[in-house]
Symmetry: C2
Subunit: 410 residues, 2 copies
């Protein structure tokens, strides 16, 4: 019998969101007819914008005629989209990123999950805690996490707590990591780093030779002027950082699947013989070998959101969600709850009342308010005592959820 990758057996039995789905399903089954407001999983609810919709119809027409049919595209994405991204997300904001440094994919989850393929198997990894579970789980699968302790911490992971205690600004690690995962605006806390706070990390990486994996999936929600939308706004970041972006939360492409990864040309890693190797070249090789490009239709839809109408329409959707976040933040704080995030982010991070556990608060919100959140402890040990709510519901459902929670009089 074939031997398996034994690292998989170290993973706790199920994925956070599957656990939640099962709980909610059971509750719904035993409470038929009751309206459950789902603010757990970070999925959007607004339809894709008209510009994207029109692009999909046009691209479908392309695929339906021999003269315009497109088969395999470039694995790193079509030039039309990479150019639109380079101009729309970077050059127009004064940031140096060229089209050939962009790798279009089927989503940031795939990219942040697969990036480890190009790194040494004994890489020491640091990440903020709480954190998007994909970073942890993929490092467990790759054998980089060590063993899971009874405190919920993996022995080889360097944890960077972000909690109310440090104002959600992680401190530099005492031990040097090879790789540092940073996600800002942060998932799950919804908090941000200012330019000067992020600069501390870029400077550290430059000094220590660490690689920053910067997940900017939520950058579209940034409105505070002191908060960067890209790590490349920070001087020197091109020599230390890979940036991941997504069309999921901005353009509502969670169902269409599109994201991209930026690897600057000058970013290098070290081979065993001591030579410097371009990480761009390694990722290109990984992608051309194990990936065949994102759907042509999806790429046309993504291109369309960089048009004038596309931009305007996407901005409306973001404003819609930001309005929800603001509603939640205001109501929950008025109700006496400690709530964070929600300003430059679609996530609200709630402190559980009365020292309640995350799952305890989750159960209470589900049972008494019919509101589904995500227990903070599911994102890591430092998430215990918190719960995440998302701003992706409708205005009506969001207001309803906020008033149901406020009525608890916690």
């Amino acid at each position: 019998m074939v031997h398996i990758n034994d690292n998989f057996t170290k993973l706790p039995s199920a994925y956070l969101f599957s656990d939640i789905a099962r709980k909610v399903e059971a509750f719904a089954a035993s409470h038929p007819g009751e309206k459950i407001i789902r603010m757990g999983i970070g999925d959007v609810t607004r339809p894709i914008c008209p510009a994207a919709s029109e692009a999909l119809h046009r691209a479908t027409a392309d695929e339906s005629e021999a003269a315009t049919f497109r088969g395999y595209g470039p694995e790193q994405g079509y030039g039309f989209l990479r150019e639109a991204i380079a101009e729309g997300d970077y050059r127009s904001r004064g940031i140096e990123v060229s089209a050939d440094e962009i790798f279009v994919s089927d989503g940031a989850k795939s990219d942040t999950g697969n990036i480890g393929d190009i790194l040494a198997s004994d890489t020491r990894v640091a990440m903020t805690d709480p954190v998007y579970p994909v970073y942890i789980d993929t490092n467990v699968m790759a054998g980089r996490a060590g063993t899971l302790g009874s405190d919920g911490r993996w022995s080889r992971i360097i944890y960077l707590p972000v909690t109310a205690g440090n104002g959600f600004v992680p401190s530099l690690p005492s031990e040097r990591p090879d790789v540092i995962y940073l996600c800002f605006p942060n998932n799950p806390t919804g908090t941000v780093l200012t330019r000067s706070q992020l600069k501390v990390w870029v400077d550290y990486a430059l000094r220590e030779g660490s690689l920053i994996l910067f997940d900017a999936a939520y950058e579209a929600f940034v409105s505070s002027p002191e908060v960067p939308r890209s790590i490349y706004e920070i001087e020197g970041a091109r020599r230390v950082a890979i940036e991941f972006r997504s069309f999921s939360k901005t353009a509502g492409f969670t169902g269409l699947r599109c994201g991209y990864t930026v690897i600057p040309r000058e970013l290098c890693g070290l081979a065993a013989d001591g030579s410097e190797v371009s990480l761009h070249r390694l990722w290109l090789r990984r992608q051309t070998t194990k990936f065949n490009g994102a759907s042509y239709l999806t790429q046309r839809a993504a291109e369309a959101i960089y048009s004038e109408e596309g931009r305007r329409q996407v901005a409306e959707t973001i404003a819609y969600y930001k309005h929800n976040a603001s509603t939640l933040l205001t109501s929950l704080r008025e109700a006496g709850l400690e709530a964070y995030g929600g300003t430059d982010s679609p996530y609200i991070w709630l402190r559980t009342p009365d020292g309640m556990t995350s799952w305890g608060f989750f159960d209470m919100l589900l049972e008494r308010c019919r509101v589904v959140g995500t227990p903070g402890c599911g994102f890591g040990p430092s998430g215990e005592g918190y719960l995440r709510l998302t701003a992706f519901a409708t205005h009506e459902a969001t207001a309803e959820a906020a008033s149901r929670i406020a009525a608890l009089r916690l």
Copy 2:
């Protein structure tokens, strides 16, 4: 500086198809206005069928309205598609595969590339030679291939030659592999195994405890009654085989991106502690962690090809390509060339004339016929002395290419 996955440095510098693209580009630039017939890369040219096109327009409409919008879908694919596949590709043909054993993805290249994630890093791998380069390259990246010898063979790969010498039927290996990659109808040779020939491999795997990775991407081209379309037609295969399928060649989805992988519930691997672990469960964990599902639009299009009209339309496209294969086979043989495959496959495998090398023949066909093939040596050492032509061009271009080659009077 971060240490890289050093296995990447062992890979020869470029991917086969990129090399070809560069050569053809250079030739086209120096011969403007000349019509080059591209029969190199295995990409389709016929548009997607009307049933798929209509499904894409409908799915676009779904995504464009809040009431019907779909965000994240199940990572393993929507039930509507997995049910259609289970019924259309298996149960209706008397093969036992259930919907929950099917994992829908963005393509067979991703799946055959990523499957190694769930296997031990020291897995001994066997594969037919010549072979789809993705199998080799992904095993090199995972550190399973050993070192590349001057004969073009990797030290830890067990090669199973398929050549004219053995009638393109691989012999059982003398050394036991943990994993055996089989692709039939074969890429690149276009040859097939009959049910009894494939049974030899299933029996071997049952006896030796090997895992067969069966790539059935070209099954739609099978018309010979003695040739299986699925490895699960062979008794016992559910206990030893994973099957990969693609909508690329059947439904023309090379641009839309869709494939699927079947892992039977009873298929197991061995953990370090000696316990048996379900490979289905491991792959589910891999996919839920590193993948977020194929595009909803693509999945609706894939579902549509299982409708009555969809089936009929796809069958017409397959017949179109099969007619091309037949044209090529007949003309090339009449011209005195040794040609294989092309009956249950869209690929023709040509013996180079006069002991010419693969690249020599490639250059000659490009320069004298303006026809692009793929040098057989690009698929492995046993491919030297062969060249692959595809049946994916138009009837007109295929007939033109066949007559240009025949006119060489080789």
